[in-house]
């Protein structure tokens, strides 16, 4: 969802200024987008089938409840595919502004389709819009299900995360190329365009994170306790940073404690009580270690990127010359993979943190999984295929990036 926004932004700059460099950037990016979108499109098909292939019991009950966000997502995705076709292949066939509009449409429908999918996931964390009677859903209200309590905080968090991760990855790659030759206007402008979006999103993300954490504290105390590795209900509760949770001793080793920190962050009150894992039956515990570590990783990266963004804004306003310094470009290049790592860690937090439930408090994951024997083999096959695909994409992207100079005059030294 971020790349189309960046492309549309760059094309808009070109339409306004008429400078070749913006057009070149748009076209170079659009090639990458085409590759990613193709993989995304086939994965979308895969996803719609995998829901049933892996979780038939879940879909049997949940299909009628959360089908609605999926049908909207389908629509948004459809429009995205059509608009992207127009955008990628409509150069020189359309009025320039109509072409640009198709890019805007790709952006909007991309963001919307992301929000719809997240809303379906949010429902698993915060089931709503039905009554669970004797192992069956009754009185289904799909609208209530879609706009469940968690959808807004999760949707905002994910949209921002998409912007942070993609924008920093783009900026990072171009910064890396600038390190090789700093006089290239093409890469300078590309870094700038990406960081405008990336830095704003990265600074907003901690606020959205706080909003999400308070939400989780309210609705999923087990998840909060696991991601903070809070074994004992405390009043006030310390904020635990880092460390290795130990389930059998019920303590976190090697961690930094900030007194009253968690009470404040989770409840907005320094002396509030925060529920620990001791209040939760052992069979309902999520895996504490994975949840805690993933959470720490996500937060650490989030704050680091927010800090870099703050520096970026200060430098842009006061000390522009720093932006082309070697050390600064190295920092930006270093951020390339960070956002994606944080996104994956965040999904790990929300998914493992909900365990052992697939629908929180309603259905356990082990009851939802397909009962076909040998299911693991299909898991292995899909995993291997996607690992291979990732490798091929990285290799292809490298090939694309290495040939930028040949295709775009502005990518050469000016």
């Amino acid at each position: 969802m971020t790349m189309p926004v960046l492309m549309a932004f760059s094309e808009w700059r070109w339409l306004k200024t008429g400078k070749q460099v913006y057009l070149d950037i748009t076209k170079a990016w659009s090639k990458g987008v085409a590759i990613f979108f193709a993989v995304g499109a086939v994965s979308g098909t895969v996803l719609s089938f995998e829901l049933g292939l892996l979780w038939p019991e879940f879909m049997k009950h949940a299909g009628a409840i959360i089908g609605m966000p999926f049908s909207w997502e389908g629509t948004a995705f459809f429009i995205e595919a059509i608009a992207l076709g127009v955008f990628l292949y409509g150069w020189n066939r359309l009025n320039k502004w109509v072409h640009w509009l198709s890019g805007v449409l790709v952006s909007i429908s991309g963001i919307l389709s992301g929000i719809f999918v997240v809303s379906a996931n949010a429902w698993m964390n915060s089931p709503a819009g039905f009554d669970w009677i004797n192992g069956k859903a009754a009185n289904i209200d799909p609208v209530k299900a879609m706009f469940n309590d968690a959808w807004l905080s999760q949707a905002i968090h994910m949209v921002l995360a998409a912007f942070v991760s993609t924008a920093f990855a783009v900026a990072g790659v171009h910064a890396f190329l600038l390190l090789k030759n700093r006089n290239r206007l093409f890469h300078q402008q590309a870094v700038r365009a990406a960081l405008i979006f990336g830095s704003v999103a990265a600074l907003l993300q901690p606020i959205s994170g706080d909003f999400s954490a308070k939400d989780v504290a309210k609705r999923q105390p087990a998840k909060l306790a696991a991601l903070e590795a809070l074994y004992k209900t405390s009043k006030p509760a310390d904020l635990v940073i880092g460390g290795l949770p130990n389930d059998s001793e019920q303590r976190v080793n090697y961690a930094i404690h900030i007194p009253k920190g968690l009470s404040f962050l989770a409840k907005g009150d320094l002396n509030a009580e925060v529920q620990g894992l001791d209040k939760i039956p052992k069979e309902d515990w999520p895996p504490v270690m994975i949840t805690h570590i993933s959470f720490q990783l996500m937060v650490m990266i989030g704050f680091f990127l927010a800090f870099v963004s703050l520096l970026y804004m200060v430098f842009t306003i006061k000390w522009r010359h720093v932006l082309m310094k070697k050390w600064w470009l190295t920092v930006i290049a270093f951020t390339t993979p960070l956002g994606f790592i944080a996104v994956e860690a965040g999904w790990t937090v929300t998914e493992t943190g909900r365990q052992p439930w697939i629908i929180y408090g309603i259905m356990r994951t082990k009851d939802a999984v397909s009962s076909m024997p040998g299911l693991r083999y299909s898991f292995f096959v899909v995993t291997i295929v996607y690992l291979l695909l990732s490798l091929i994409i990285i290799w292809l992207m490298r090939r694309q990036i290495n040939t930028i100079d040949e295709f775009y005059p502005t990518a050469k030294t000016v």
């Binding site: 193709a38 049933g52 038939p56 389908g74 459809f78 066939r93 799909p142 695909l389 040939t403």
Partner: protein, 333 residues
């Protein structure tokens, strides 16, 4: 309300067969063609292939929202062929895009082409097998049956296999006819016309075989088809269009639009004839009641929201689709 949703499901099924089918078929045709054809095919497919395949996602979403237990049962019992379809879809889409966008021309292109062609043929075979399994009635939802009876026997049999090959052939036919209009070079056009005729003959033979296999497999498909007047009419329409299409394929001058509309009607007619005898059954279940639209439908509140989403969605999507196809008729400035 239910009927409207079923109609939209049927329409997306037909559109997926036509558009997605032509897209799969292009990969099959490419296997038997040369370098120049490969370029034409890539050029014709690149802007539209992703959108063409969204019809399948739409159909799946309608199925799991509107008829969740059908979706759940299918994906449980037909896990293996569905997995094959997914692998095919992944390979095909990515190989095609990588080929189109990889800046280096070289050995990697041969690999992409190979994967693209193989998966273009295999994926429709499995799609056809899945469809065959749904109507054949060997699907069992009784968990006490063994692995083979539950997960293999419903789809691995001669009837389903014939359905699969028939589907591939039909797709190749759709693609050949479509491609006739995609080139300005007479020699290339003739080649596609030849492919069209060949695949038309093969499709007819295989269609006949499907009926024979159904009979041999103890399924009443053939008899029901022959005893249902609307279905016979549809079959006759499809058959009568064959000589007409043949005639237009022989014409030197381009009659693209007649060809495309003709084949479109042909395929839709066959599908509608089949829908007619199939309705309202979605899955025939062994030793138990069949799963129909009626006994699996989601609660009214869900269907209502689904219908709203579908209608608004289609109102947005269809003009978009028309626009997309028209844009590529515009000559580049």
């Amino acid at each position: 309300m239910l009927i409207l949703i079923i109609i939209i499901l049927g329409v997306s099924f037909i559109l997926y067969t036509l558009l997605g089918g032509a897209d799969f078929g292009a990969g099959i045709v490419e296997t038997f063609a040369g370098k120049r054809e490969e370029r034409t095919i890539s050029k014709a497919m690149a802007p539209v292939w992703e959108a063409n395949h969204v019809w399948l996602i739409l159909a799946v979403v309608i199925l799991f929202t509107g008829f969740p237990s059908v979706y759940a049962s299918l994906s449980w019992v037909l896990h293996i062929p569905l997995m094959m379809v997914l692998l095919g879809i992944i390979m095909r889409g990515t190989a095609f895009t990588f080929r189109h966008y990889d800046v280096h021309q070289g050995r990697s292109h041969q690999y992409y082409s190979f994967l693209f062609r193989v998966s273009s043929f295999i994926t429709p075979v499995f799609l056809g097998m899945i469809l065959g399994a749904m109507i054949l009635g060997r699907i069992s939802l009784d968990r006490s049956e063994g692995f083979y009876n539950l997960f293999i026997a419903p789809w691995l049999n001669w009837f389903c296999f014939t359905m699969g090959v028939f589907t591939s052939c039909l797709f190749a036919y759709l693609a050949s006819v479509f491609l006739v209009g995609e080139t300005n070079i007479e020699r290339e056009r003739m080649k596609y016309a030849k492919f069209s005729k060949l695949s038309m003959i093969f499709t007819m033979i295989l269609g006949l075989l499907v009926f024979i296999m159904a009979e041999a497999g103890g399924h009443s498909l053939t008899r029901t088809f022959l005893h249902t007047t609307p279905s016979i009419i549809m079959l006759v329409i499809a058959a009568l269009l064959c000589p007409l299409i043949w005639h237009f394929l022989n014409k030197e001058k381009n009659k693209t639009i007649y060809l495309r509309v003709g084949t479109g009607i042909q395929v839709s007619a066959i599908l509608m004839g089949w829908f007619y005898i199939q309705f309202p059954v979605l899955i025939e279940v062994k030793n138990a009641g069949e799963l129909t639209f009626y006994n699996t439908q989601a609660p009214a509140a869900t269907l209502e929201q689904l219908l709203i989403a579908l209608v608004i969605g289609l109102l947005l999507v269809i003009p978009g689709f028309v626009f997309l196809f028209r844009v590529f008729k515009i000559k580049t400035k």
